[in-house]
Amino acid sequence: MRRLGEGDRPPAAADAGLTVSVTSAPAVDGRRLRSERTRHLIIEAYLSLLRDSSQVPTSAQIAERAGYSVRSVFERFPDLMSLRIAATDYAFAKSTADAELRDLDGDRSTRIRSQVETRARTCEAWLPMWRALNANQGDSDELRSRVRLARELIFRRLELMYQPELSTLAEPLRRYTLIALEALTDFESWGRMRENYGLTIEEAREVWMRTIDRLLPPTPSA
């Protein structure tokens, strides 16, 4: 494996962090790889435009940023909705890979810190994408199902990280606590702290850690 260099792809996508296998495969494999790479670079261009402007980019902007023609974009994606869905899947795959469950057996404060650090990293990286996804979900059942899936994963993760504390609560209090935790650590909660109140990443994490600690019931003794 090697990292793509300036000579391998358009300069606009040089920070994409994309890697490809280098093999002496038959010509058809080469074409498929190039097509896959183009597809990846278009998705990366879409995501980087979202990060830059928070506006849903046009096909012309995406093509320009990726270094391809508009026609190339629509050769790989029948319409912009397909591109949005592909970008969403790509973002979910990347964020899931970056959010491995850690410190499940740690003490209370270790688990809270671990959860908050992971969640903060995800929010910091994917907030513009999340906003675009929410803004467009009304147009597509597929986008709606992905938003729902993402929320289920966030919910499930909270359940796993705070299982010892939550196990001490009867229903419906257990579920109520999870719903409150989910609201407090939502993307827009992070966005407000960073954008509206100008908190640093560390300060924003502190708010979440303190809040989660207060919301959770006492940790049962081992």
């Binding site: 928070s54 506006q55 803004a135 009304g138 729902r148 929320r151 419906p172 209090l173 109520y176 606590t177 719903i179 409150a180 989910e182 609201a183 407090l184 939502d186 827009e188 909660s189 407000r192 702290m193 509206n196 109140y197 502190e206 708010v207 303190r210 809040t211 207060r214 919301l215």
Partner: protein
């Protein structure tokens, strides 16, 4: 504000003896037209959850598209006027109650008021705050709504917040704001299928945990 929107300019105009009375009558009719356009916008948003077009607003209000643009230079100006109307109505219906009551009563009072507000204004909030680019007046008003929500919580929970340092108070307020956000309410109602009472119970429990002890 009512959801039913009257149509046309019907109704007897105010009649006066002189020129001033005619001017007043015209101004009153113009004001009423403006209000009906705003109410048509709000009614359409509540029904569809989408930003209405000028043609839809005109049809619902019973006026021509031209009448709309005689009163509002563009749809962004109309959105700003709708926001001002909503803020005025929400403020009128959100009188501070139970300020001197015990902790639980104050929490429940705040949650009930906020839950009712979310229930009533969520579709409009979503439409108005969806795209603020190029609309500084709207951005300013959205910011003002957020400030009003925070100020209200600060007043309702003043006894508890008075016990902690500024730094801690700020953290608590950030958490309360996130918890009582419009979309937090929407998720409880739409995604998790909670009833109004259940959603209120989630907020009551969480606020009770987040607030410091009440001073004796």
């Amino acid at each position: 504000m009512t959801d039913a929107v009257q149509s046309g300019d019907g109704g007897a105009p105010a009649r006066g003896e002189g020129r001033d009375a005619r001017v007043d009558g015209r101004r009153l009719r113009s004001e009423r037209t403006r209000r009906l356009i705003i109410e048509a916008y709000i009614a359409l948003v509540r029904e569809t959850g989408h930003m209405p077009t000028a043609a839809q607003i005109a049809e619902r209000a019973g006026y021509s598209v031209r009448s709309i643009f005689e009163r509002f230079p563009d749809l962004t100006a109309l959105r700003v006027a709708v926001t001002d109307y909503a803020i005025a109505e929400a403020r009128a219906n959100a009188a501070l109650r139970d300020l001197d009551a015990d902790r639980l009563t104050r929490i429940k009072s705040q949650v009930n008021q906020r839950g009712s507000g979310c229930e009533r204004w969520l579709p409009l909030w979503r439409v108005l705050s969806a795209d603020l680019s190029g609309a500084p007046d709207l951005q300013q008003r959205i910011g003002m709504i957020r400030q009003l929500i925070v100020m209200r919580m600060e007043m309702m929970f003043r006894p508890e917040l008075s016990l902690v340092s500024d730094a801690v108070r700020k953290k608590i307020m950030l958490a309360l704001e996130a918890l009582l956000d419009f979309e937090s309410w929407a998720r409880m109602r739409e995604l998790y299928g909670l009833s109004f009472e259940e959603a209120c119970a989630v907020w009551v429990k969480a606020i009770d945990r987040l607030l410091p002890q009440t001073p004796a």
